[in-house]
Amino acid sequence: MTGTMAGRSVDLERADIAREERAVRRHRRVDRVNRAVLGLLGFGLVIGAWYLLVASGFKSGLVPSPHETVDVVIRRFRDGDLLADVRASVQRVLLGVGIGVGAAIVVGFVLGWYETPARLFNPVINFFRALPPISLIPLVVVYFGIGEMARTSVLVYAAFFSGVIVIFEGIRALDPLYLRAGRALGASQFELFRRVVLPLSLPTILVALRVALGVSWATLVAAELIAAQQGLGAVIQEAGSFLRVDVMYGGIILIGLAALTMDGLLRAISNRALAWREEVRA
């Protein structure tokens, strides 16, 4: 008696859920196409406006058209040097974000977990976070000279302080319910950390990575102002000295594209790794 009654309501639940899931999936597919089309259209509109600007004769001779810009970028890629610049910039950003966010994860976890260090260092961290990394450049030159070390340290700085705050807040917001559940099932402190806290904070870590990546690309040009021979920032800087406006445009667009690509990759990884979450889309 009890079995069949419970069984019937379970069957109803199953049918409901299956139907809902199908609808959600169909909706998602349509939504994804819609998103992609509109996103491309947005770029199309900007490029159109750019052509109009050129046609209007604004700052005549100082605004290259989109196809001229694409031309010069392709030419520079073919010569080989621009590819090396892109690679140098990408490497710097990855190194800066890797070290910066790596440290931010450790520090953020400690501050999120323990009350006293959090109270001790929170104001200090907010102070340093408020400083624009560019303002530190002269000081960095004094201490580290103008080598790779100087450039990387600025990026590490930017990545660390943007990431640590995200991770700190994320750990703070962890639902204690899951910790209690883990402890009641017999988890030791270490198991609680590895089996519950870590998976639970993965979304936060991925958000910190995205934020740090964004800030690091934004800081890159400043870092490469420090007498870099290579890198997209250096390309723009050098083009400025020779008034090569088309190269400047090309460099700026490449920075944007590189940042966009990295963010897209990270978002794809997030959506896959966090497929278990209630709201999947990052």
């Binding site: 419970a6 409901d16 559940a181 009641a184 017999g186 089996r195 993965l202 278990w276």
Partner: protein
């Protein structure tokens, strides 16, 4: 009978709990005495804010009493442990694990480690018992509230605790699901035969599930009365309309009234 040598499975002896400090210090539990025998199902009802959950948290080891003692098998509770399974009101199933991985979680920990074969047997057993066989590899986000709570109950039973502590596990479910869940839990409890403490604000649910119902007073909370439920087994939806059930219900509602 009274002179049995073995201590009760769970015993609260003058257990007192206060929250807050200074003038805002309030006494939530005031010298609670309660004994739960091995294999007994005890439901606790009380006005909201009366510290029902605090009693459970003391036995679970999430809280320590300010006065008195909380004993399990005669030993004071020092903290949470796998000898006492807990089912929470909010869905505490781990969202990053599939249904099967949730159920076997406790058996993959150092303290309760079981070999893979035994884990599979346990998971199979509880998937079947909880009507979750089709959802072995599903993530909790695809499950309804009732199903999530069935996973949580299976996960708690899987580590084979002697005591199960359930904190309004059906409180967030709609009425129909709730009745179905109570019936299913009744048959699970009968099959597994563990000691159960079940917190609820539904008098009907309490009578339906319990061997004894503990009725609490408002804060500072003491025990108003303990009502034995001599309904026997089996119980089903029709039990709730019997004269005995209705009388018990009226009696307990009366106890809660003032």
């Amino acid at each position: 009978m009274i002179a049995t040598a073995s201590p009760p499975r769970v015993e609260l002896r003058g257990a007192t709990k206060r929250f807050g400090t200074g003038s805002e210090r309030i006494t939530v539990l005031d010298a609670i005495d309660l004994q739960i025998a091995d294999g007994e199902v005890v439901c606790v009802v009380g006005p909201s804010g009366s510290g029902k959950t605090t009693i459970l948290n003391l036995i679970a080891g999430f809280l320590q009493p300010d006065d008195g003692a909380v004993l399990v098998d005669g030993t004071p509770v020092a903290g949470p442990g796998p000898d006492r399974g807990v089912v929470f009101q909010q869905y505490a199933v781990f969202p990053w694990l599939t249904v099967a991985k949730n159920i076997e979680f406790g058996l993959t920990l150092r303290r309760g480690r079981a070999p893979a074969e035994r884990r599979r047997d346990v998971v199979d057993h509880y998937l079947k018992l909880m009507d979750l066989e089709d959802f072995r590899d599903a993530y909790p986000k695809t499950l309804s509230g009732g199903m999530r709570q069935r996973v949580a109950i299976a996960r708690a039973y899987a580590v084979q605790p002697e005591i199960l502590l359930m904190d309004e596990p059906f409180g967030a479910l709609d009425a129909q699901t709730r009745d179905g869940m109570a019936e299913q839990l009744l048959s699970v409890m009968a099959a597994e035969g563990k000691t159960v403490l079940f917190i609820t604000h539904s008098v009907e649910e309490a009578i339906f599930l319990a061997d004894r119902v503990v009725v609490l007073t408002p804060r500072p909370t003491t025990i108003r009365d303990v009502v034995p439920i001599p309904l026997g087994a089996p119980r089903d939806a029709r039990t709730k309309t019997t004269p005995e059930f209705v009388a018990l219900r009226r009696q307990i509602e009366e106890l809660l009234r003032y």
